[in-house]
């Protein structure tokens, strides 16, 4: 089946390398993108949103897990009701 083959191709190491290349290209090109609407200082720094995206992702995962382990996460039968 063709769809399956495409998905398999997308999972190879070669595609991953291309993806890393795209990330680097994204930052480099950001130096040349014109800024029309500057809302705050971050809008003027090239690559600002790359850093923001990465840090946001890490923060969300780490902080949420931390909050979860403070006691929010409980066993499925916490309210003892059986399966959903």
């Amino acid at each position: 089946m063709k769809l399956l083959e495409i998905v398999e191709v997308l999972r190879t190491k070669k595609v991953r390398r291309i993806a890393y290349g795209v990330l680097i290209l994204l930052i480099i090109t950001d130096f040349f993108i014109p800024r029309h609407e500057v809302h705050f200082f971050g809008d003027e720094i090239p690559g600002f949103w790359s850093l923001f995206g990465f840090i946001a992702c890490v923060l969300i995962i780490v902080v949420s897990k931390w909050i979860g382990h403070l006691g929010l996460m409980q066993h499925e039968n916490y309210y003892d009701e059986g399966d959903v």
């Binding site: 769809l3 998905v7 999972r11 949103w49 969300i60 897990k65």
Partner: protein, 599 residues
């Protein structure tokens, strides 16, 4: 000017769902399927044909009820609700349970009714109709936990509805007018009667918008609903509330804070969540957070953004619920810990779900990009940098979960070797239609912008904005793959604000069953017997003599009649709340139909 409910120029779209729906149980097979689709399409064309103006005005007692208030704002919401009605009906057309179909029809009809309501009373009637019909979409799952979740869902909505009603009554006593009027709430606490009325209405509305701490019903009930029911629910309740918030409360500053908190709160819970449909439910809260915040800001650009976002959101969120619902339908589970490797067996469902994921993440060329950015930019232009940054952060989280986590753990992840197939044709057709909408709106966004309540001065596809979004999303993806190990789910649930009512309800029941019961039995019972029962008995013995001689003969006849009546009534009193709820809904429907049909 008084015009009719059913005239050539205006036919109330709800009427198709509410009256037409009643015939569903009488039909079977293909005829039934075709009939249901026909109703949904007729309702859609009724919306297309609605001219702007006021229709369906009725004098009822001292009140003036307006069922058809059509302007740009109500029309765009009616459009999307009617479109979603068609898609939802296609997705659920195979469901044989008449009750479930009727519940969905009354739910959609109620939502359209709220949208077009011109006065508070008819708004409230349809508002309650939505709550009482949608709860059946949870109950028809028929598992013990969904019955429980349904009761909790109903309790939240009844409580919210009563607060709304209190606000409406207070508003009416102040202005003497039931017409829905713009009454934003300013500040943090009500200071005078007028602001108390606005405050109560606001609280009533935000319960339905699932704003924390009143939003726990949503991730509780939606994953417990039926496969098709959850698709309807994901679209209507919160977005109807957003519509009402725009109409009544736009510019209430408190909503900015609540909305931003909401956007982040949903993302945090989504990290912890294992059930795919509950994860998506938390992302409804997150996305509605953008809308609630935008309503609070209240500028023309923000309101345009909110409306556009609600429009796109209904399509991509229902698409996501359809995708995960298909997985649940075909494999029997929606838990990420039990899924994995499905790309070999359900690849097409994966594509549709990923399209939904890219749309909700606001990827360029997908629908979320043209709508979410408008709301967020409105915050940038208002120089509310903290809110702007927080919403940007939440966007990263959105992509992290719906765009990456859900597809990865269902279709890739650890191959569980589950034997599954693509879902039935109608479910797939509904997903194809939604997918086309998601991409279509992302590319051809001008028609959507033309429907918005204010004129649009916003261009989503500027070089900088596109680059900004691509950077955030692609670097989020990098973070996802680097931290993948941390994201493997565990078989857990996460405590939400409903912990307080649920735990205190248990404590209350213990208090009633143990200390209260023994107090009643041992102490009060004794006192009662000594002071009241004994003297009364003495009088009674005396009275009995009179009674047997004089009264008995007359009474016996009446008694027999009463017994016969009560035996008949007994059948109605089953003791099942579901049956009572059904009767109440039937009553409300009867009232609405009588009002609609009587001249």
């Amino acid at each position: 000017m008084m015009r009719e409910m059913f005239s050539l120029e205006f036919v109330h779209p709800s009427a198709f769902y509410l009256i037409g729906g009643l015939l569903i149980p009488l039909l079977k097979g293909r005829v039934r399927q075709g009939y249901m689709l026909l109703i949904a399409l007729l309702a859609f064309f009724a919306v297309v044909n609605m001219p702007h103006g006021t229709f369906g005005v009725y004098e009822f007692l001292d009140w003036k009820l307006t069922f058809g208030n059509v302007d740009k704002l109500s029309k765009v919401f009616a459009y999307i609700f009617a479109i979603m009605g068609v898609i939802g009906v296609i997705y659920s057309i195979h469901v044989k349970n008449d009750g479930e179909q009727l519940a969905a029809f009354y739910y959609v009809g109620g939502s359209l009714g709220v949208t077009l309501a011109g006065d508070f009373l008819s708004l409230f009637l349809f508002w309650e109709m939505m709550a009482f019909s949608s709860v059946f979409l949870v109950w028809y799952r028929k598992s013990k936990s969904s019955v429980h979740a349904g009761f909790r869902y109903l309790l939240w909505h009844v409580a919210g509805g009563l607060i709304l009603l209190a606000g409406i009554i207070l508003q009416y006593s102040l202005s003497g007018d039931l017409t829905i009027q713009y009454s934003p709430f300013h500040g943090w606490w009500p200071a005078d009667p007028q602001s108390l009325a606005s405050f109560l209405i606001l609280i009533g509305l935000i319960v339905n918008a699932a704003v924390p701490p009143f939003g726990a019903w949503l991730p509780d009930a939606y994953p417990a609903a039926t496969v098709t029911g959850a698709v309807f629910m994901s679209a209507f309740t919160t977005k109807t509330a957003v519509y009402a918030l725009i109409r009544i409360c736009a510019g209430s500053e408190i909503l900015i804070v609540l909305g931003v908190v909401m956007a982040i709160y949903g993302v945090v819970y989504a990290v912890l969540e294992n059930d795919a449909r509950r994860l998506l439910a938390y992302h409804i809260i997150s996305q509605v957070g953008y809308m609630v915040a935008g309503v609070g800001l209240g500028t023309h650009m923000a309101i345009n953004g909110v409306v556009a976002h609600a429009f796109c959101h209904i399509l991509y969120k229902s698409l996501l619920f359809m995708g995960t619902g298909s997985v649940l339908y075909m494999t029997g589970t929606a838990k990420l810990t039990e899924l994995g490797g499905l790309y070999k067996t359900m690849p097409r469902t994966m594509i549709y779900t990923v399209i939904g994921g890219l749309s909700i993440s606001a990827f360029p060329l997908f629908s979320g990009f043209v709508s979410k950015s408008m709301t967020v930019t409105a915050f940038g232009e208002a120089h509310l940098t903290w809110a702007f940054m927080a919403l940007m952060l939440a966007s990263a989280g959105t992509f992290l979960h719906t765009g990456l986590k859900v597809p990865y753990f269902i279709w890739f992840g650890k191959d569980q070797g589950i034997k599954a197939k693509e879902p039935p044709w109608n479910m797939e057709l509904a997903m194809i239609i939604s997918s086309l909408f998601c991409i279509g709106l992302g590319v051809f966004y001008k028609p959507l912008y033309a429907l918005l309540p204010y004129s649009v001065h916003f261009e989503p596809y500027t070089a900088y904005h596109t680059w900004e979004t691509l950077q955030i999303l692609l670097f989020t993806q990098l973070g996802f793959f680097l931290l993948l190990k941390k994201l493997w789910c565990k078989n857990t649930i996460s405590l939400d604000t409903d912990w307080f009512p649920r735990k205190s309800a248990k404590a209350f029941m213990w208090f009633i069953n143990k200390p209260m019961a023994s107090l009643e039995y041992n102490v009060i019972g004794e006192i009662y017997e000594f002071i009241i029962q004994k003297p009364i008995m003495r009088v009674a013995v005396y009275l009995k003599k009179i009674d047997t001689v004089v009264v008995d003969g007359t009474i016996n006849g009446v008694g027999k009649l009463a017994m016969a009546c009560s035996r008949k009534m007994q059948k109605v009193q089953s003791g099942q709340i579901q049956h009572y709820a059904m009767l109440m809904v039937a009553g409300v429907i009867a009232v609405i139909i009588i009002v609609m049909v009587l001249p």
